[in-house]
Amino acid sequence: MEEAILRVFRGDSNGGEERIYRVPLKPGMVVLDAIHYIQAHYDADLAVRWNCKAARCGSCSAEVNGRPRLMCKTRLDEFRGTDVRVYPLKTFPLIKDLVTDVSWNYQVARQIPPFTHKEPEGKPFIVHQVDVERAQEFHKCIECFLCQNVCHVLRDHEGQSAYFGPRSMVKIASLEMHPKDVLDRTGLLREKGGIAYCNITKCCEDLCPEEIHITDNAIIPLKERVADKYYDPLRALLRSLAPSRRREEST
């Protein structure tokens, strides 16, 4: 029977090593199937996070031959003739084997002011498809955190205290572009959110499994809003004369 050779990282915060496993191939098999085979037949304590195995939940993120991907969506037949290296996400602290501590992302999420509207009670919203579609794109996010993992601000410069990262930019964009939202989050974006740190290399957009245009549709328009609000000289002058109260401020 045809086999795949997997080189899987095994270890924890004290260090680890690559271990080699041979797994019989079945048609259409994905990396996560191979990991399950290893658990059932070789090492029951191989740690992996997964839920749906259908690319809906965003749990099984890992680095496969160096590229951050969902293991449930990565076919083994892509790698015919080469070994398949499976490593944990590099940006987040390692817990064990393929499982990392992604709790920072949830801490950031708590700092984003929620959807806020001023519609009258008891009346269904009237909004048009063309107006919801913009934000719907961002609602596709499955929180796999691959974008956070690949963002060089977070990955190489340990910028977690300075920049919220692409996932959070998508979240903020989803709220800012919700047709009924009334908050203004540009202050947050400029200060704690650190949107200026993104220099638009589009690495995140390139590997989003939901194909969200993270940079083009979320980050750049948000950067424009920040620039508009804080760096437009005419508006700065008008603001100093008559502070706008139309939108509520939030930082």
Binding site: G28, A47, A54, C57, G58, I95, H139, I142
Partner: protein, 569 residues
Amino acid sequence: MEQYEIFEHDVLVIGAGGAGLRAAIAAAEAGLTVGLVCKSLLGKAHTVMAEGGIAAALGGVDPQDNWQVHFADTMRGGQFINDWRMAEIHAKEAPERVLELERWGALFDRTPEGKILQRPFGAHTYRRLSHVGDRTGLEMIRTLQDRAIQAGIDVYPEVTTTALLKDGARIAGAFGYRRETGRFILFPAKAVILATGGWGRIWQVTSNSWESTGDGAAMAYEVGADLRDVEMMQVHPTGMVWPPGVRGLLVTEAVRGEGGVLRNSQGERFMLRYDPQKKDLSSRDVVARAINQEVLEGRGSPHGGAFLDVTPLGADRIRQKLPNMYDQYLKLADIDITKVPMEVAPTVHYAMGGLRVEPESGATTVPGLYAAGEVASGLHGANRLGGNSLSDLVVFGKRAGECAATYSRDLPATLQVPRDVVEAEIVRVLAPFERDGNENPFLLHEELQATMQERASIIRTGEGLQKALEKILELKERSRRTRITGSRMYNPGWHMTIDLDCMLTLSEAVVRAAIARRESRGAHYRLDHPNKDPEFGKLNIIARKSRGEMTITTVPVPPMPEELARLFT
């Protein structure tokens, strides 16, 4: 003795899918302290996989729709062994809950007038399912998750609960461990809400995620709660068939809702024969058995299923309304569904049966223990209509949260968690590290799945079920000899020993209940009793732990009041 952390809350919610999140929000908004235990990370629960939509008689696209029609559709779908009061509450309150989601930020697809769009679905009289393409569950869980983190709820991600604890007859909390460290946690709480979902993982071909192992139902059974009608397991007609790695993965009913049709290998639209009126959108049990029958009679697709053709819709519409299905087939099966038909076959999908609850409150038969969502039973009877599960989560999640909060607030006594029970639980859970044995929990699970698939799935017989029961009892015995190596840190093998115990309990209950129901009704089809029996139509089957053994009894289905019964004449 082993140390453990202690976190006390007024209300403890176990399970963080749609029902658990909605319950936690309700209890927190009532002003109580709430703990929310997630088996996985927050926002990853099985609800994210729901695709087609949430059913509610908003009447936005079909103004004739109202709660009575939704109620009647639900009762007919459930073949009248549903709890009528749950079906009534559900039909009346679902529209409010959908509008509430919208006010919390959910963005449903719209009609040309800017209202919430509703799509047709199997056995719903009118277009009734509010949706977001084919990822409605994700929209719902994210909306509720955002609301929950703002409500001051304490979230415990990746914590596995292993037991419910009682003080005398009352619930007093739960016990479990953190997967990251393997360290134990005690959660004292006057009220516990179970929102732990179903148990589809006991079958081989299932659309369910790894979490659906019946933990909540099994823990509740252990402390004396009643399981009702667990023989009723929905087999969804359309799951992926090929390649083997994705067998069982769900193909949403929205494919047929949007106009997709089923054909056999001869190109025949066979549903015209099985249900000339509702055709491809007949109820799920009917469509699943029809596909099964076509395969048995030699008219199946190459990998043992049927063809589901959506190509006439055109590529643009398919990509807009069914983006996940398009992507799923393209990436996982190398099939472009805008050009060629999909291959589909039935897949185990949803537990209609579950904990017996009071319709108004979600209270189980154990004081202080509540249940909502798939783990509870009553709303769906013998067959669930598509879209009714998402509305179930928010309607009954909210009610369970409110009622558990009231119960917790009004309970004067302080409860004690018996120390010896906790210590015995620690010994039980750690046993696989200590004992002699050579059984592999993953392989035992595979044997269980094979048995349930062969003997307790879409077609059942008394004889086959008896054999399944013998096999389950054998596996139970062998599960006491599972042995685990490695540390307690994030150890999936260890976790599987605990899941396996739950799955064996549920399998035994499913099979014993299926033996007891000597008729065919909804999802439960007995080749040796192929017809409906009006006597069984008046009964719910109950599985209960009594003197350490599982016993099966029946209770009468509550009769409908006159004014509701009139809807069916």
